[in-house]
C-alpha cells in the first residue's frame, strides 16, 4: 500500500523558504497529550486528527470543536492614516470599517493575483490582521515593502490563536465569559477568560457559528483546557478543518487561491466594496476591475461528484474530446453529505449551477455537476437574521 495522491493538507505550502525548520507551536505538548497525530504543516508540527476526521467533523457540526490555528499570522498595523495605507494594497473598504468589525480581504499583486486571503479588524487604535500560516512571512515582507515607513507592523508571534466552532460554541464560551454572546458574526472585542486577556471575534472558517480567540502563548494551554472542560467541546484536528471549510464553500490559500488566481476568478467579488470598485487605487486594480462585472475566463465553482470515490486536488476538468480545460483545486469526501465534493476552476460557460462536468483523475473519468456553494448551509450568527 502506498500513497497515490495525498491531499496537500499535510504537506508544507510552496512559500515557506523563509521559514525555519519544522517548529513547535505553544500547544504542541497539549495536542500530543490528548492523542493527536501530528504532521508537518506550514512549517510547524500540527494536529491532523484525534479520534478520526469524520467523527471530529460531525462533532463540530453538531456541538463545538476547538481548533489550534496558532500557525496563522497575527499582525497589528498602526500609524497615522493606516486605513488609507491599507487600501493601497487591499481591495476592501478599510475607511468604512467600524471599530470592532471584521472584513474578509485579499492581498493582491500588481497583476491582480492573490498573494493571500485574510481577515482584518479595525480596533480602537490599530488594525488586527490574521493571515495564512504558510504565507505569513511573505505577507509581512510585502506589507513592509509597500506600506509607508510611518506605518508600524507588529507580528504577534507570541500570541496563540484558537478557533471554537460549532452550534454550541456560544454555550461553551459564554459559560466562561457571558459577554461574548453579545457579539454578532464578524464582530470582535477584548474580553477576559478566567483572568486572561483575550481578543475574541465571532468568526471562523467552518461555516458554523463560532469564535476565534487570541491569547498570549503562555496562557494557551490553560485556556484550551478550560474550553475542553466544557461538555460541548472536543479538540479537533486540521483534517476536519479542511473538510468543514470545503463543505462551507470556503477557499483555502495555496490550493483554491494562489498568485495565478484573481478575485473574480476565485468567486470573491464580494471582497471588492462598491466604493473601491468605483475608485480603484489598489494594487492589481487594473486587472481586477477589468474583470468586473463580466468575470474571469476561468471561475471557481463547487462540484458534486457522482459515486463514492473522491476526486482530489490535481484532477483535471476535461471537455468532450478529453482535453484539459480546468482543474480541481480541493476535493474530498463530505462527511455531512456522505458523498464526494470538490472545488474546481472551470471555463465561464460551464460555471452555472446544474452544468454537467467531466473530471479526469489517474486516467479515469468522473461525472460531476456544478453545485451552489456552500454545500452545507452556513449557520453564522448574523445580526437581524431569524433564529
Amino acid at each position: 500500500m502506498s500513497d497515490a495522491t495525498v491531499q496537500n493538507q499535510d504537506t508544507p505550502h510552496a512559500h515557506d523558504d523563509a521559514e525555519p525548520e519544522i517548529a513547535a507551536l505553544p500547544l504542541d505538548a497539549w495536542h500530543r497529550a490528548r492523542g493527536a497525530r501530528m504532521v508537518p504543516f506550514a512549517g510547524y508540527h500540527m494536529p491532523i486528527q484525534y479520534d478520526g476526521i469524520i467523527a471530529e467533523h460531525l462533532w463540530t457540526r453538531s456541538s463545538a470543536g476547538l481548533f489550534d490555528v496558532s500557525h496563522m499570522g497575527q499582525l497589528l498595523l498602526s500609524g497615522e492614516g493606516v486605513d488609507q495605507a491599507l487600501e493601497a494594497l487591499l481591495p476592501g473598504d478599510m475607511q468604512a470599517l467600524g471599530v470592532g468589525r471584521l472584513r474578509y480581504s485579499l492581498l493582491l499583486n500588481e497583476e491582480g493575483g492573490i498573494l493571500d486571503d485574510l481577515m482584518v479588524t479595525r480596533r480602537a487604535d490599530d488594525f488586527y490582521m490574521v493571515v495564512n500560516g504558510a504565507t505569513k512571512y511573505d505577507d509581512i515582507g510585502h506589507l513592509r515593502e509597500h506600506l509607508a515607513d510611518d506605518i508600524t507592523l507588529n507580528h504577534l508571534d507570541d500570541q496563540a490563536l484558537l478557533a471554537l466552532q460549532g452550534p454550541k460554541a456560544v454555550d461553551a464560551l459564554a459559560r466562561i465569559q457571558p459577554a461574548v454572546a453579545q457579539l454578532y458574526f464578524m464582530e470582535a472585542s477584548a474580553f477576559e477568560l478566567a483572568g486572561v486577556p483575550a481578543w475574541i471575534s465571532r468568526s471562523g472558517y467552518t461555516g458554523e457559528d463560532g469564535f476565534e480567540i487570541s491569547v498570549a502563548a503562555e496562557h494557551a494551554a490553560r485556556i484550551a483546557d478550560l474550553l475542553c472542560d466544557q461538555p460541548e467541546v472536543k479538540p479537533i484536528g486540521l483534517g476536519a478543518r479542511d473538510s468543514l471549510r470545503l463543505e462551507a464553500g470556503l477557499p483555502l490559500y495555496g490550493h483554491d487561491l494562489d498568485e495565478t488566481t484573481t478575485p473574480m476568478a476565485a468567486d470573491l467579488g464580494f471582497a471588492l466594496s462598491k466604493r473601491r470598485r468605483e475608485q480603484g487605487g489598489f494594487m492589481g486594480a487594473d486587472r481586477v476591475l477589468g474583470e468586473w462585472p463580466a468575470g474571469a475566463p476561468l471561475r471557481r465553482v463547487g462540484l458534486l461528484v457522482d459515486g463514492r470515490q473522491p476526486v482530489r486536488e490535481g484532477a483535471t476538468v476535461v471537455d468532450a474530446g478529453g482535453r484539459d480545460i480546468g482543474r480541481v483545486t480541493s476535493g474530498g469526501f463530505s462527511p455531512s453529505l456522505e458523498r464526494p465534493i470538490a472545488m474546481a476552476y472551470v471555463p465561464a460557460g460551464l460555471a452555472a449551477a446544474g452544468t454537467p462536468i467531466t473530471l479526469s483523475q489517474r486516467g479515469r473519468a468522473f461525472a460531476a455537476t456544478v453545485a451552489p456553494m456552500p454545500f452545507v448551509p452556513t449557520r453564522y450568527h448574523r445580526k437581524g437574521a431569524a433564529k
Partner: protein, 123 residues
Amino acid sequence: MTRYFTKDHEWIDVDGDTATVGITDYAQGQLGDVVFVEVPAPGAQVKAGGEAAVVESVKAASDVYSPVSGEVTEGNAALADQPDLVNSAPEGEGWFFKLRLADPAELGGLMDADAYQAFIASL
C-alpha cells in the same frame, strides 16, 4: 493456513493455491476513515508488487499492491457499501480480494507475523 505480510502493509492468508489479501491494522490506522475501496474483478491478473486495488480515506488515496502474482477469483463486494469495514475489521471482514497463486515460491519473499511486527516497530 499461513499469513504473510509485505513492507507495503498488505497481508495474505494462503490456503493451498488460493489466498485472501487485505491491508493491515497498522495500515488502516495510518489511513484514517476509509470512504471508498475499489477491488479487482474476478479474472483480473495481478503481479507481485503490482497495483491491484485502491483505498481512499477522507484525506488521501492509496494503491494496494498484490503480495503475489495470480488470477483474482473474487473481490470483496461488501466494501462497496461498507468501506469502513477496512477500519473496523482490516484483517477479517475488510479483506480486499482472493486470488489463485501463480507461483507459490513468491511467498518466500514475504514476512511472517513476527517479522512484520518488528518491521512496523522500526518505522
